[in-house]
Subunit: 508 residues, 2 copies
């Protein structure tokens, strides 16, 4: 193997721990030696399909070992991995394939319809089917691996080479591809190994989507780097997860708060065997105090983090030791990542003063793929990445995410940060989920509206909930109305689609 | 802080875990916040003394927090740290100061005599006394820190900058300075965090000398990177170590095998509280099976490693899981470090065939300071570092160090690797320590001689020991004579000084 690119990891782990299990996927499992051989054969097969250093290889599908194998095989060749979000529509996927200029699309058979539609695009493009049977003109993934040579691919791929292009979730605006180097991915893993006591015996449940940065980079890759085991599930199902905790002896899991809430809401929760769980890592939104309490009753604490695709992704981490004392904050910067909270003029905000989070460090992306103007706009003149998110710092250095800048509601000249209001609403026992949006108002410009999903078996009223908020927040922050719904629109990472919320519930 | 040089670590850890204890030294201890402030002041003081980017700052003294502070402060300035071996004589130290061109020498007060002698050298050089009272013309360390400004030093120091010059132990030949970058040191730490399950709650006993690479780079710096605690002792004393296990709740310790044997030989061993010990890491020589067994009885296993100053230092690691099954081997390569065993023509040796170990990876030094010819000679044309050590690999990839190439005995045309013979002798219950050297022989050219330190209370005879070896080794490997002595000459890392042995015991 050559250099330290992540394509070398399967070979390196096969050297260190060949017989240990790397990946469990339903009834199948692969040791590191097997993973290495498969990745090596896949790399040879991709090369035979014409993939060369710098070419892009896309993947569309639910979580599957093939996604990881394709990532590593592309890395081995110095090619660039482009994971695609399975919840997107064909025109959105076509946009990303065209924007990245992907030469090969590997897809899960469950996505055959989209893939076939994408194959009709003008660009010459090779399609590879994982599972099922390959349509005419598409390659079959397992056949490619079986017929490929075993000779090792020996391409030097270093930390400065581009590893992947991950499209940002696109809750607003046109998706942009964050260009992440092997060094970005590796340094994020180093930060994780420093911030989290990951062991070689880790058994990590990967049920959040691997096409998003959190599951892939915060838990899956660090686990594989340590020689632990990842249990790759096509998606999250609370009943299945509770069963896997016991049968696979899961020790580590990443999830968005809604996933952790779904576990406690499941009838199997009370009797679930949680004895192997050691590290629960939450991201996407702060874990509410009631959720923290529910897990504390079972002896479990959360690590919480804040990050984003562009930073590969870890920026802030709230360790278990501080998880209760500093609940609601996103923690402190990861060791090798620098964070500032700045005013619009880029001077440092005082403790407690909201400002934009800007980030610098070896995990920060090279830039937006093919968009030098967007890249320049996203950075300060001296190289800090501008997150667009608003936060406050406390005197101990703990950072609280106040809001995504773009979600801020301005009402009568006062700024309202929805997350703060949601946090208070969420503590009402009858509230399962909630979101606060701005709706136009003749008098105030905008006023807040709460969109609430009641906890099953309860029927809170608008009056109940507003009474709950009364006195807990400044008057101007209290929503002027509450609407009830069955579920909140979320993207695959669990982030609220506020644009959809506004469309559905934002009429005055 | 700027970039990722190790000078930034105290500031980064002070940001992440300000209130946690970083260093314990006798009755004193420092939190990370305190360490950061002291390092920052020391850096400002060194700058005031004229130290600039690239200048060398040497340290001479027993283990002390000041050694670590000087390392970090030099790193903060982009200056180069030069740790000196306290067991060297003044002319040897003078050679290293001159060779490195050190501008400042920080020394422990117990080394005032040597320092004063070194101050008489022609070069203008600033001397700084740690502890005691500073002689006229020398600076007092604590006064420098107390009077320095607190303003942070903000010098960009990256992974490609030189971090330290460590002189190789010099058991043979003239000492050479291995020039190690911040990246070399950091990547070794990354390898350690991958190979060893280091936690943030680690309490690491540092009683092997910090001027050598193993204690500093394999345990002390990885512990500080994780935010754990190092208990810095001026030296190793078995009684004191056993007491510290209990009072400081030591979880991790590095030592050479002789240190671990001294612990079991101590009368306090049987009743010692070992309950906090988790990771015992041994290097310098393989741990004998009898030592492994003695610790196994107490529920403890060893991590064993092989490395050297030039590789910052980890190369091979034998994990606890394999420590019994693969006892006697030095393990497999650390994750990001590549190892080959090669014939004299640099082709790969077959499994079982002895060959020279060559190493490549991000932890391999930039070169020998000021010695481009030595640097070139120490590397193959395609950039592998030549260790000069002889090893065999087994089909599973475990490497056994057969011998330092230069220690090989050639007897009647057969190669004898002393380590192999020593390992067998050591398993005799009456042998505390032993070494095998070659002595001139008219008939065979050279024959082996065993130099043995009997276990206290025993009186083995030459006949006893040769009978023990008989049948366990090929006839030509059996020493022709045994001599008894009270102690073996060792350098500060615990490595045998074979040259001294040959001088004292090598006459036919």
């Amino acid at each position: 193997m050559r250099d330290e690119g992540i394509g070398s990891w399967p070979a390196r782990r096969a050297r260190s721990s060949p017989e240990r299990t790397a990946i469990v996927h339903g009834e199948r499992s692969f040791t590191y030696a097997e993973l290495h051989e498969r990745v090596n054969r896949l790399a040879a097969a991709l090369r035979r399909l014409g993939v060369r250093r710098g070419d892009r290889v896309a993947y569309l599908g639910a979580n599957h070992p093939a996604l990881l194998e394709t990532l590593f095989a592309a890395g081995t060749l110095g090619a660039v991995f482009v994971p695609l979000n399975t919840r997107l529509a064909v025109p959105e996927l076509a946009y990303m394939l065209d924007d990245s200029g992907a030469r090969v699309l590997v897809y899960g058979a469950e996505r055959a319809e989209e893939a076939t539609a994408l194959a009709r695009r003008p660009d010459p493009r090779t399609l590879v089917t994982v599972g099922g049977s390959a349509p005419a003109g598409h390659e079959a993934y397992e056949e490619l691996i079986a017929s490929a040579p075993v000779d090792p691919v020996d391409e030097p791929v270093g930390l400065d080479d581009t590893c992947m292009i991950m499209y940002t979730s696109g809750t607003t605006g046109r998706p942009k591809g964050a260009e992440l180097t092997h060094g970005n991915i590796t340094w994020n893993c180093v930060n994780v190994l420093i911030d989290v006591d990951v062991t070689a015996d880790e058994v990590t449940l990967v049920s959040a989507p691997l096409f998003h940065t959190a599951a892939l980079n915060m838990t899956c890759l660090p686990t594989l780097l340590k020689g632990g085991r990842v249990v790759v599930e096509p998606g999250f199902d609370p009943e299945r997860a509770l069963a896997l905790f016991a049968t696979e002896r899961i020790s580590w899991m990443f999830g968005v708060p809604a996933m952790f809430d779904a576990l406690t809401a499941h009838p199997g929760w009370a009797d679930a065997d949680l004895s192997s769980l050691r590290v629960l890592m939450a991201g996407g939104a702060p874990v509410s105090e009631s959720t923290i309490a529910a897990y504390q009753e079972r002896g479990l604490t959360f690590l919480q983090g804040y990050g984003m695709t562009e930073t590969a992704p870890g920026v802030l981490m709230l360790g278990a030791a501080d998880s209760v004392r500093k609940a609601g904050t996103a923690g402190r910067p990861s060791l090798f990542t620098d964070v500032r909270i700045v005013r619009p003029d880029l001077t440092d905000a005082d403790p407690g003063e909201p400002g934009e989070i800007v980030v610098r460090g070896p995990n920060v992306m090279r830039g937006y793929w093919g968009r030098p103007d967007d890249t320049a706009r996203a950075h300060t003149a001296d190289g800090w990445f501008r997150t667009g998110d608003v936060a406050t710092g406390d005197p101990e250095g703990f950072v609280t995410i106040v809001d995504r800048a773009k979600d801020m509601i301005i009402s009568g000249g006062e700024n309202i940060y929805p997350a703060e209001v949601e946090s208070v609403l969420h503590d009402h026992p009858d509230v399962l989920e909630c979101a606060v949006i701005g709706v136009p108002d003749e008098r105030w410009g905008e006023v807040g509206r709460a969109v609430v999903v009641p906890r099953p078996g309860t029927a809170p009223t608008e009056k109940d909930l507003l009474a709950h908020v009364e006195g807990r927040l400044a008057r101007y922050k209290i929503p002027k109305s509450v609407v009830f719904t069955d579920a909140l629109p979320r993207n695959a990472t669990g982030k609220l689609r506020k644009a959809d919320l506004r469309r559905d519930h934002g009429t005055p």
